[in-house]
Subunit: 420 residues, 2 copies
């Protein structure tokens, strides 16, 4: 029985089965994969009773063990949420398939025809917390891009995840995808997570989905490449030449539309030459946002409290915002370089030169002009879905969807060429 | 003095200086970087006397410490080799600059204009052995792609590397590039290598250049992403429908043109239905190659010795080749999946269907049809140069040149959009 295997052996066994399944999956056409995802979505809808029953058990156990209302809400499924999960699987089926796409092609003087084509990464490990929708979302994105996936969800959602996984696999296998293409780690032993993180050569990439402590642990311990972001300490810089109405609208939206998302603004940089700075801070304060400022920011409004040194490096994920007054674009760039997390930064300005310098010089995964940082999202970027947002520098940055789950290989077509 | 710092602190200090310099370098135009590389090449030519004197000292020390003739040859510089190094720097200056290239652009229904543009990776660490040309080659590729570089060469070449580095930096700084953009680790303490490998967040990518033991150590110990290949166990599969003349030519070239390069063929797979198999093995044997075969291969020619189980997983880098007879394309694919190192594989066949299946299903960085595996090289691919060949799956695969030393960021240009 696989549950009796030590975690390293268990993960190795699952990974080998996943890699084997991926070889078949990677050869399937877009239509076959899309059709399988539609069958899986239908199977998920059909399994509503068993998924909701499993979820009710998770919720009861979560209440008994004292999970917070926020945690219970993340865990909770109802007919509407389950239908949305199935819809999302169908939406992924409709996305353009990057696998097989030719990135470039050239012919060498000796007649060799070179091309680079996109291929699946291989086996993706997903380590996540209490949201059972990740089970279906991640599985769909991986299958659509020809990758096998090894899912390891949180203990709180174990029954829900098993029910969702079972339904998906029923659908996928009925449509000809090997069951091992989408596997759920069958134990909640935490050592299995460690085994996944160190399975270099067996798992090609790990995507953690969850809170900062999960991501930090994964980044610290992983020997497998990790696609993730730890922080979203996102800045909005209101330049001297900003349009005041846009500045107010964007600041309110960037901070307060949803405070708990990774694209939320966490620091507002106000140019000392921006005349409407008091109106921006007043609008935020009037909307119920707590502001913590440096001395010059506090001079703008008596309701602004003092910022400590740590505030500039804090992702609040709440109705709290740090505010600094800066002397021009260079000072804003320096503040961002010192305190940013390379996630998303924005400038508000009608000055094209300032905008283009900001876009060029800020070294973040996403750099915006005259828009709310809350647009940092794969769906908003037109990617259809996202497996996550990456702030690392290699492979893929920003919202990562199907293309970020592929790599490429070089094809060389010759007619007998040998190298002189 | 920096030499008195503990290795971790020394590397952190160098890395911070490199990152700071990179911010300036990353903003420089292609023309400015190209011009600086030309000035650096000229400075290197001008420093011939001091570089060759330093190299003579390295050679004398190497002879005294008993370096092998092959090692001494790798270390040796003369006027001709130094001129070739300077030429290579100039060639890199002439390459197209990927930085700033727009990968894609789209406009969202809400009017946001999204684009992805290439940006430098940041700070690249190069860890290499006795070839002093790597000092100049790697520095040129990094500077051309807007990256700072931290070089750590082998002890045998320390005087040569210092002289080459000093000349390059004289040229680069004269042309306005900060000296810290190209730094040579000023100690041969091996702990400095360990400090580089664990400098996550300070060094963005490590490229090892050298033998298998160096690469293995770097891959085992690195916490920073590594771009490398450990093995090149490259297969050539001669399909039943191969043209016999091409099969012979390609097999001889793939194995024997240069046996010590990573693109050399190490295993020959002969289809059981290929009629001219005896002629292929005879041509290899007659050219002085030792063949080690399975039972069916040995039946083709009495001069073929027996292959042990390890032979199928061995990169000989010598005039030795393992030979197996396989039953058709699927058996060839299975052999490659079991024993390949995902570097370079080739099929020889006039059957278009077999060729395309091979190209599609072999999961290697480079897959060739009717060509010698010895074409696995950045120069032969038209990349102008290469920082290395990568067999990992993420970021970049195969020959890696300037584009592989870049990543991208998302730019979002709005007119005041907020997210509903």
């Amino acid at each position: 029985m696989s549950k009796l295997l030590p975690p390293d052996d268990l993960i190795a066994q699952l990974a080998r089965a996943g890699r084997e399944a991926q070889r078949a999956l990677g050869r399937m056409s877009h239509d076959a994969k899309a059709q399988a995802l539609r069958v899986a979505a239908a199977a998920l809808r059909k399994a509503e009773a068993e998924v909701l029953a499993a979820n009710a058990e998770d919720l009861a156990a979560g209440e008994a063990s004292g999970l917070s209302p926020a945690m219970l809400d993340r865990l909770m499924l109802d007919s509407w949420r389950l239908a949305a999960i199935a819809d999302a699987v169908e939406n992924v089926a409709d996305l353009a398939d990057p696998v097989g796409q030719e990135i470039e092609r050239s012919t060498r003087p000796n007649g060799l025809v070179l091309s680079r084509v996109r291929v699946p990464v291989g086996l993706i490990g997903i380590i996540y917390e209490s949201r059972p929708n990740v089970t279906a979302d991640a599985a769909a994105l991986c299958v659509a891009s020809g990758n096998a996936v090894l899912l390891r969800g949180g203990s709180e959602a174990v029954r829900s995840n098993r029910a969702i996984h079972a339904a998906l696999v029923r659908g996928l296998t009925a449509a000809g995808i090997p069951a091992a293409a989408v596997q759920l780690v069958p134990t909640q032993d935490r050592a299995a997570v460690g085994a996944m993180l160190t399975a270099a050569g067996l798992i090609d990439m790990i995507v953690p989905r969850g809170g900062k402590s999960l991501v930090a642990r994964v980044q610290a311990d992983a020997r497998v490449p990790v696609l993730a972001h730890l922080d979203g300490i996102n800045h909005t810089y209101i330049h001297a030449a900003a349009d005041p109405a846009k500045a107010i609208q964007i600041a309110i939206n960037a901070k307060l539309r949803r405070t708990g998302v990774c694209g939320a603004m966490e620091t507002l940089l106000l140019d000392a030459q921006f005349p409407a700075a008091p109106a921006v801070v007043a609008a935020l304060l009037d909307s119920g946002c707590e502001l913590r400022g440096d001395a010059r920011a506090r001079a703008l409004d008596p309701r602004i409290g003092p910022a400590s040194a740590e505030d500039w490096d804090t992702e609040y994920l709440d109705s709290v915002l740090s505010v600094a007054v800066v002397d021009g674009l260079d000072a804003a760039l320096a503040h961002i370089a010192a305190h940013g997390s390379q996630h998303t930064e924005a400038i508000v300005s009608e000055d094209e030169t300032a905008v283009e310098r900001f876009l060029s010089e800020v070294d973040s995964a996403i750099v915006m002009a005259n828009a709310s940082t809350q647009f940092a999202d794969g769906g908003e970027f037109g990617l259809g879905a996202e497996i996550g947002i990456a702030t690392g520098r290699l492979h893929a940055r920003g919202p990562v969807a199907l293309e970020g789950l592929t790599t490429y290989k070089w094809l060389v077509r010759g007619t007998g060429q040998i190298r002189p």
